[in-house]
C-alpha cells in the first residue's frame, strides 16, 4: 500500500472499487474546473483545519468567487459562513444532501438541476466515507475528496499527505478556482 492510500481510520477499508488518487494537485484543480455544475461540500470539521486562508471555511469563501461553484455547508456550519459575512452559502444536513444527490430529479439549490461533481472537505472521516459509499453505489455522480487522508469511496481522492503539503495543495486548488472566476 502506498503512503498516499493511508486512510484516516484504520478500520474503514474500502471495497473492490476504490478511489483514484490524483497524480498531481493540478489534475484535481482541473477536474473541478471542468465540471459543469460543481458542488463544494463543507463539513463540520472545517473550523478545526488550518489553511493558508485561515481555516477551510475561509478557503471555501475564497473559492465561492468562482460563480460556477455552489457551496453548501453541512451540520450547523452555515452559521460560521454567516458570522463571516457570507449570506449566500447553502445549508443542508449531510445525510439529506446524500439523498438528494442520489435523486436524478433534484433541481439543486438554484433550481437548475442536479450537480455533476461533488467536492467534499472538512469531515469526520467515517461520515464522509459513508456518504461517499452511498454515492458510489447508487449514483453516477463524480465525487472528489479534498481531505488530507485517502477516502476510498470517493471517485477521486487527494490521498494522504503531510499537513504542510496538504495546506499547499488546498491553496493551489482554491487559487485555481478563484482565478477562473
Amino acid at each position: 500500500m502506498s503512503a498516499k492510500m493511508k486512510r484516516g481510520q484504520t478500520g474503514m477499508v474500502g471495497g473492490p472499487l476504490q478511489a483514484n488518487i490524483f497524480p498531481t494537485v493540478d489534475v484535481a484543480a482541473n477536474l473541478i474546473k471542468k465540471a459543469k455544475r460543481p458542488l463544494f461540500v463543507v463539513g463540520s470539521k472545517a473550523t478545526e483545519q488550518k489553511t493558508k486562508d485561515g481555516d477551510i471555511i475561509d478557503s471555501a469563501i475564497r473559492a465561492m468567487k468562482n460563480k460556477k461553484l455552489t457551496v453548501v455547508a453541512t451540520g450547523h456550519l452555515v452559521g460560521e459562513f454567516r458570522k463571516r459575512g457570507v449570506e449566500d452559502a447553502n445549508s443542508m444536513p449531510l445525510i439529506v444532501l446524500g439523498k438528494y444527490l442520489s435523486d436524478s430529479e433534484w433541481k439543486g439549490f438554484d433550481g437548475e438541476g442536479q450537480y455533476d461533481t461533488a467536492v467534499f472537505v472538512g469531515y469526520p472521516y467515517y461520515m464522509e466515507w459513508l456518504v461517499e459509499s452511498g454515492l458510489k453505489n447508487f449514483t453516477k455522480l463524480r465525487t472528489i475528496s479534498l481531505d488530507r487522508t485517502f477516502q476510498p469511496n470517493a471517485q477521486w481522492s487527494l490521498g494522504w499527505m503531510p499537513e504542510p503539503d496538504w495546506i499547499e495543495a488546498l491553496d493551489k486548488i482554491v487559487s485555481s478556482l478563484e482565478e477562473e472566476a
Partner: protein, 781 residues
C-alpha cells in the same frame, strides 16, 4: 386471560350426530378474561400482518443506504461484490443486502432484550410464583401498553407475561430465517421485517421491566424515585468495592440482599456501570452509579474494584484479563457471557471463595443468583485487604512507558474520533499532562488505540493518570429510574401534547459512543428543558446528562422537577425501560383519546405518528439493541435522531420535503386527501453535529394535528434554535406555517416578510383530522 393449547381427547363419544371413536379436538387457545374491549384487527401480528402500514411509512421515508461494506460474506458463494448495480450469487442487490443487515442487527437487538426478559421472568416465576400480580405503576390501569396493543390481551400476573414472550421468540425465529440465503429479496420487505423486530423488542423490554418492577420493589412512578450519586467521587474507596457491569439486575439484587441481611453496607460499597447500575439504584439507592459503559477500563485501571461482577450485554469481552491485572476476581453470572470461566454454580460457596481469594482462579461462572450474592461479598471482603498495592496506583506507575512512543500515529487512526492521542503522549513525555487530561472526557473508552500501538502502551491508563485527581472529584446526583409513566400523568398532559401546546417529548436514549463526550447529551437536555419540552432519559444517556453542573454545583436532575410534564426531567431507567417511553405515547392514544388498544396496532401507530410530538435521540447509539429500540419507534411513527457514529447503521429513513405528493394525508372527517407539509420530515436521521441535532429535534416535534397555538409554540422553538445555531431563519419555514395564526406573535412581522419573499400562500397546508389509514375515515364527502 388466554390459555394456550387446549386438547380434548375422547376414546368414544356418543352424540345425536353419531358415535365417534378416537376423537381428538385441539384448540390453540381459549379466552378466559373480563376485558370488555373488543379485539382489534391484528392480535399477535405475524411477520407480514402490518406490512401495509410499514409500506405507507417507507413510501414517505425512503431508505437512503450508505453501505459500510460493499461485499456479502454470509454464504460460501461469497464473498460477493455488490458494488453499484452488481448482484450477489443469490441475486441479491446492494440495497437489499444493506436492509438485510439492518434486519439482522434489529433481530440481534430484539433477541438480546427477549433473552434478558426470559431469564428475568423464569427466575421471578420461580422466586415469586406465577400468580404474583402485576403492579407496575401507581394509579395505573394500563399496566402493559405494548402487550395490550400487540398481543391483544391484558396480563394480570407475571405468569401471564409468558405468552407475550413466547410470541416474541417465535416471531424472531421467523425474522432471522428470512435473512437466510435465498429467502427475502426485496429491500423494502427487509425494512418492514426490521420494523417488526423493533415492535417485538418493545414487547420484550416491557416484559423484562414490568416483571422486575412488580416483584423486586423498584419505583412505581416518579414520586417514588429518589436520588443516588454517580462518578468516581461517589464511591467510598475506604470500603471494599464491588463493581457490577451489564444490564441484568438479578445477580446484583442478591448481592444487595446479602449486604443487607449481614448488615454490611457500612463496610462494602456496591457500584455499577451501565444499565445494571441504573437498576441496582432502582432496587436500593444506596447502590452507586459508577458511570456509563464506556468507563469500564477507566474504573478497572483505577484499581478501585475489589471484585468485578458481569451479567450481560455491552461488557468488555476482555474484562477478565483487565481485572486480573489489578488482582480483582471476576464473577460471571449469565450463560450468555461465560467468558471461558469455569462453571462453579454447583460448588460449595466457601470453596469458590477460597479459590478466588488465593488466585487459583481469576474468575468463575455462577448462574445461581443467591450463590452469586454470597460468593461475591465474601470474596470482596477477603480480597480487599490483599489488594492495597493496586488500590491507589501512583501516577508514576500508570505513566510507565511514555518514552517508548514511536510517534507512528496508529493510535489516532485507530480512534473512532481521531483524538490526538499521540500528541498528548508526546506532551506528557515532556512533562505536560494537560493534553491527556483534556482527552479523558472525550474518550469513549474503546481501547482501540492501545490495541493498535506497536509498543502496547497503556494509553487509557495515561489518560486516567492525567485526570485521576479531577476524576476523584466527580460526584453527581442522578435521579433513580422511575419506570412507567402513570395513567394519571398521561391524563394530565395528554391534551397539551396532542394539541402541541407542550412542544414535545424528547427522549434521550442509550449508549455512550459519543463524538465529543457525554456533555453533549446534557447540552441537548438543557436546551429542551429550558423550552419546556418533556425530557426523558434512559441508559447511559440518563447518566451522562448528570455531568453538566452550573456555577452553584447543581446539575439538571437538581434543577428540573422529576415530573412527566412540561419542563420536567425523568430518568425512566435502564435499556428495558425504553418500553415505557413508547408505552407512554401508546397510552396517550388510549387514555387521553380513548382509542381502543387491543390488537389495534395500525390505528394507534397512526395516532402517535400524526399527533404525538415525540422524538427519540440516541446521541451515542452503538449497539444492535439501539437499532431495534429505534426500529420499534419507527413502526410507531416516532422519529429517531442518532449522532454521527449512528450513520454506521448504514441507512437512514428520510423524507423529501420538496415533493408535495409525499405529504398528502387523509382527512378522517371527510375522506379527502390533504397536503399537510413534511411533518415529521424524517423517521431516522444521523446528525453530523449536536447543534444540527438540536434544531432538527425542534423541527421533528411538529405534527399535522398541531393546533394553531401548538404550532406557534413549536415554530417559535424551531425559529429561535435556527437563529441560535445556524445564524439565521430556517430555509424551509414556509413548509410549516399553515396560516398566519400559526406564527408566533412576537415574530409575526419578521416572519411574514420572510414568507412573502418565499412565495408562501396561506392555507396551502391543510389542518385535517389526519390519518394514513383509510378505514379511519368517519364520513366520506
Amino acid at each position: 386471560m388466554s390459555k394456550k393449547d387446549l386438547n380434548i381427547k375422547f376414546d368414544e363419544l356418543s352424540s345425536a350426530l353419531g358415535t365417534f371413536k378416537g376423537l381428538q379436538i385441539s384448540i390453540g387457545k381459549i379466552i378466559d378474561e373480563e376485558w370488555e374491549e373488543p379485539m382489534g384487527p391484528t392480535p399477535f401480528p405475524s411477520v407480514g400482518t402490518l406490512r401495509d402500514w410499514d409500506r405507507k411509512l417507507l413510501e414517505r421515508y425512503k431508505p437512503y443506504y450508505m453501505p459500510i461494506c460493499d461485499l456479502c460474506c454470509l454464504c460460501t458463494f461469497g464473498k460477493c461484490d455488490l458494488t453499484g448495480d452488481k448482484k450477489g450469487a443469490c441475486g441479491l442487490t446492494q440495497a437489499a443486502q444493506q436492509s438485510r443487515v439492518v434486519l439482522i442487527s434489529c433481530c440481534i437487538g430484539a433477541s438480546t432484550h427477549c433473552a434478558h426478559a426470559r431469564h428475568m421472568l423464569d427466575h421471578l416465576l420461580e422466586e415469586y410464583g406465577r400468580d404474583t400480580e402485576l403492579d407496575v405503576a401507581l394509579n395505573t390501569n394500563v399496566e402493559a401498553p405494548h402487550i395490550r396493543l400487540v398481543c391483544g390481551y391484558k396480563p394480570k400476573t407475571i405468569g401471564d407475561l409468558e405468552e407475550a414472550l413466547d410470541y416474541v421468540e417465535t416471531q424472531i425465529v421467523q425474522l432471522v430465517a428470512s435473512a437466510h440465503t435465498g429467502q427475502e429479496g426485496d429491500a423494502i420487505d427487509f425494512e418492514s421485517k426490521a420494523f417488526h423486530a423493533g415492535m417485538l423488542d418493545h414487547v420484550a423490554m416491557e416484559v423484562a421491566d414490568i416483571s422486575q418492577i412488580s416483584t423486586v420493589g423498584m419505583p412505581k412512578g416518579s414520586s417514588e424515585a429518589g436520588m443516588t450519586t454517580m462518578g468516581f467521587g461517589a464511591i467510598d474507596t475506604s470500603k471494599t468495592v464491588i463493581m457490577c457491569i451489564g444490564h441484568n439486575v438479578l445477580p446484583s439484587v442478591d448481592i444487595i440482599d446479602y449486604l443487607m441481611e449481614h448488615d454490611l453496607f457500612e463496610k462494602v460499597e456496591i457500584g455499577g456501570l451501565c444499565c445494571t447500575a441504573l437498576d441496582n439504584s432502582r432496587y436500593d439507592n444506596r447502590a452507586k452509579i459508577m458511570g456509563p459503559i464506556s468507563w469500564q477500563i477507566r474504573y478497572v485501571r483505577s484499581g478501585i474494584p475489589d471484585v468485578v461482577v458481569i451479567d450481560e450485554q455491552c461488557l468488555r469481552t476482555d474484562i477478565v484479563d483487565e481485572a486480573a491485572k489489578i488482582g480483582a476476581p471476576v464473577i460471571a453470572t449469565s450463560e450468555k457471557s461465560m467468558m471461558g470461566l469455569p462453571d462453579r454454580t454447583h460448588d460449595d460457596a466457601d470453596e469458590i471463595v477460597a479459590d478466588l481469594v488465593s488466585g487459583r482462579q481469576k474468575g468463575v461462572l455462577i448462574i445461581e443468583p443467591r450463590k452469586v450474592g454470597e460468593v461475591v461479598v465474601k470474596t470482596a471482603l477477603a480480597v480487599s485487604p490483599k489488594r492495597t498495592e493496586y488500590k491507589n496506583p501512583s501516577i508514576k506507575s500508570l505513566l510507565e512507558g511514555l518514552d517508548r512512543c514511536r510517534g507512528c500515529a496508529e493510535c489516532i487512526a485507530a480512534c473512532p474520533n481521531n483524538l490526538p492521542v499521540m500528541e498528548a503522549v508526546k506532551a506528557a513525555e515532556n512533562g505536560d499532562l494537560k493534553q491527556l487530561e483534556r482527552l479523558q472526557p472525550l474518550c469513549v473508552g474503546c481501547g482501540r488505540c492501545e490495541s493498535a500501538c506497536p509498543e502496547h502502551l497503556p494509553l487509557l491508563s495515561y489518560m486516567y493518570a492525567a485526570s485521576s485527581e479531577s476524576c476523584k472529584g466527580e460526584c453527581y446526583n442522578v435521579r433513580v429510574g422511575s419506570g412507567a409513566i402513570t395513567d394519571v400523568e398521561i391524563r394530565e398532559v395528554g391534551k397539551g401534547i396532542v394539541f402541541g401546546e407542550i412542544p414535545g417529548i424528547v427522549a434521550l436514549v442509550g449508549c455512550a459512543n459519543y463524538p465529543n463526550g457525554g456533555s453533549e447529551v446534557a447540552m441537548i437536555a438543557e436546551e429542551f428543558l429550558k423550552r419546556r419540552f418533556i425530557v426523558l432519559a434512559t441508559g447511559c444517556s440518563a447518566m451522562d446528562l448528570a455531568s453538566l453542573v452550573d456555577e452553584e454545583g447543581q446539575n439538571l436532575y437538581d434543577r428540573y422537577p422529576a415530573v412527566f410534564d412540561a419542563g420536567g426531567l425523568l430518568n425512566i431507567g435502564s435499556c428495558v425501560s425504553n418500553a415505557h417511553i413508547t408505552g407512554a405515547t401508546i397510552k396517550i392514544a388510549n387514555i387521553f383519546a380513548k382509542r381502543p388498544l387491543r390488537g389495534n396496532y395500525e390505528e394507534i401507530a397512526d395516532y402517535v405518528y400524526n399527533r404525538v410530538g415525540a422524538v427519540g435521540i440516541s446521541w451515542g447509539a452503538m449497539s444492535q439493541k439501539a437499532s431495534s429500540i429505534a426500529s420499534g419507534c419507527w413502526r410507531l411513527g416516532i422519529p429517531v435522531i442518532v449522532g454521527p457514529h449512528g450513520s454506521k447503521y448504514r441507512r437512514n429513513l428520510l423524507g423529501a420535503k420538496d415533493k408535495d405528493e409525499d405529504w398528502v394525508t387523509i382527512d378522517a372527517r371527510t375522506g379527502q386527501d390533504m397536503y399537510v407539509g413534511p411533518t415529521p420530515e424524517h423517521l431516522f436521521y444521523s446528525a453530523e453535529t449536536v447543534e444540527e441535532a438540536i434544531v432538527m429535534t425542534a423541527k421533528l416535534s411538529m405534527r399535522p394535528n398541531d393546533t394553531t397555538k401548538g404550532r406557534a409554540v413549536k415554530l417559535s422553538h424551531y425559529i429561535d434554535l435556527s437563529k441560535k445555531y445556524y445564524g439565521g431563519l430556517p430555509d424551509d419555514l414556509e413548509l410549516f406555517v399553515r396560516r398566519e395564526a400559526d406564527l408566533p406573535f412576537t415574530m409575526k412581522a419578521e416572519m411574514l416578510e420572510h414568507l412573502k419573499a418565499k412565495g408562501w400562500v396561506e392555507d396551502k397546508i391543510g389542518m385535517p383530522d389526519p390519518t394514513l389509514v383509510d378505514r379511519m375515515v368517519r364520513r366520506r364527502e
